[in-house]
């Protein structure tokens, strides 16, 4: 952590040493309650920008800690089922993390296509390096669109769930290990599609029923974002999962 970072109070950080540190108003000791209260918006725009950067920087470092620690953990687990579940946890942290590589612009938005390609490549690499039997080929076809940063992390979690579904149910039963991710603006809405070439959905498939966490969560979060999630048989075999989101969420907040 930089000297600048240490001015942010953190329970695990060592107390700043006065000799090594230039005096700074934010380094003054604050009471426990004060530490929980968000400071008022900085009137000085330059200071505000610096504080924002410090915060962003700290979030990135902490997400790095979590992804690295989970990666180390997975390497120590041999039991295939336990390992698979750990990989799922690792991927969830990972997809949110890589979205945090992106810095939101002044309007609070990030590039949706950059976000999706990084997320998809992260998932592909996780399959390749952590679970050799689940390798797949990734095809991306992404239109340049923008999303609110906080929406982008939720979309990333849904995308991870859709990939998990395809990896678990399509790849083991298909001959074409390709997954195609598309992003386009269609009829005033954002349409994100993941297509696999597996056996397709079972008859009378209800994605919200059952006691699984994944797809019901993906449906609920899609609705929370003002959109919807549809699963359908693809023409020519396989499944298409379509996440529809309002296009205007890319507009500055």
């Amino acid at each position: 952590m930089s000297v600048g970072d240490r001015s942010a109070p953190s329970p695990s950080a060592e107390p700043p040493s006065p000799s090594a540190e230039p005096p700074s108003p934010s380094a003054e000791p604050r009471s426990e309650v004060e530490q929980l209260i968000e400071p008022e918006a900085d009137a000085d725009p330059v200071g505000g920008e610096a504080a924002l950067r410090r915060a962003r920087h700290q979030i990135r470092n902490e997400l790095q800690l979590l992804t690295s620690l989970h990666a180390l953990h997975i390497r120590r687990v041999d039991d295939p089922r336990a390992r698979r579940e750990l990989v799922r946890c690792y991927r969830r942290i990972g997809v949110v993390s890589v979205v945090h590589q992106l810095s939101a612009d002044d309007g609070g938005t990030v590039s949706a296509d950059a976000c999706l390609s990084t997320v998809a490549e992260f998932i592909e690499a996780s399959a390749r390096s952590l679970d050799d039997s689940r390798r797949f080929e990734l095809e991306l076809d992404l239109e340049p669109l923008r999303w609110r940063h906080d929406h982008a992390t939720r979309v990333a979690l849904i995308v991870d769930e859709l990939f998990a579904n395809a990896i678990d149910h399509a790849l083991p039963h298909g001959t074409n290990p390709t997954l195609v991710l598309q992003l386009a603006a269609i009829d005033g809405r954002t349409c994100l599609r993941l297509r696999d070439f597996g056996p397709g959905l079972p008859e009378h498939f209800d994605p919200i029923a059952g006691d699984t966490l994944g797809l019901p969560m993906a449906h609920a979060v899609a609705q929370q974002l003002g959109g919807s999630l549809e699963l359908a048989r693809a023409p020519g075999g396989g499944t298409i999962a379509s996440l529809w989101l309002p296009l205007d969420q890319g507009a500055p907040a």
Binding site: S2, R56, Q101, E121
Partner: protein
């Protein structure tokens, strides 16, 4: 894996003050065939090790919670021990790019990193270890690209507004504007030639003309002019 064959003798030192991250980096580098000869937590420990261990690659965190940071450390090291330098940092701001420019860096990965990004950056950094001027500029462009992708540098829409304000760049021909915009969209000259249906030679001529109009000598200088004004 081809990376394995290529780097099986490459030796790396990781300078990272977070043990968890250092171990993760170590595992990944080892899995792609590098030999991690030491994990270093404090910048002061590095100098003595360079002579003894002669690494090919230094993976450097920028924030080291020490008297100097990773960029300053790279600056010191490069005076005595030429080797590839790859920064892995949560710092992704224009100021970082400006500081990284002053050292001879070979790559940049933004934390929290995804494994393919790290693998690709290691591959590129080791390939550029010969450090010709062309390679140094290519490395710089790549670093700027990584930071631009992270949204740290002006995004394309904003950048398009900005470059027109650079003295000289307001006088470009329509074709030169196309070439410059393609360049700013991270297309490389051979791709630009293909995109625009013109020969690579013509692209080079357009680039030379753009450089002349704003008084720079290279793509790296042009990029710096646009990014830093």
């Amino acid at each position: 894996m081809s990376a394995e064959a290529k780097h099986n003798r490459a030796r790396a030192i990781i300078v990272e003050d977070e043990w968890i991250v250092a171990r993760d980096l170590q595992h990944i580098l080892e899995e792609i065939g590098l030999e991690v000869v030491r994990l270093v937590r404090r910048p002061a420990e590095l100098a003595a090790l360079l002579e003894e261990l002669k690494p090919d690659l230094l993976v450097l965190d920028i924030d080291l919670d020490a008297e100097i940071d990773g960029i300053e450390l790279a600056e010191q090291v490069q005076r005595t021990h030429p080797c590839a330098v790859l920064f892995v940092s949560a710092h992704a701001e224009p100021e970082t790019l400006a500081r990284v420019r002053r050292v001879d860096a070979h790559g940049f990965v933004v934390k929290p990193f995804a494994r393919p990004q790290l693998e690709a950056a290691v591959e590129v950094a080791l390939a550029r270890v010969d450090r010709t001027a062309d390679h140094a500029q290519a490395a710089l462009r790549e670093i700027a690209r990584v930071l631009a992708d992270a949204g740290a540098l002006p995004n394309s829409e904003r950048r398009n507004r900005n470059w027109r304000q650079v003295p000289g760049l307001d006088e470009l021909s329509p074709r030169e504007i196309q070439v410059l915009e393609a360049l700013l969209a991270h297309r490389r000259p051979p791709q630009i030639a293909e995109d625009l249906g013109i020969s690579p030679h013509t692209v080079r001529n357009h680039l030379k003309s753009i450089y002349a109009k704003c008084g720079v000598r290279s793509q790296a200088e042009l990029l710096q002019l646009i990014v830093e004004g």
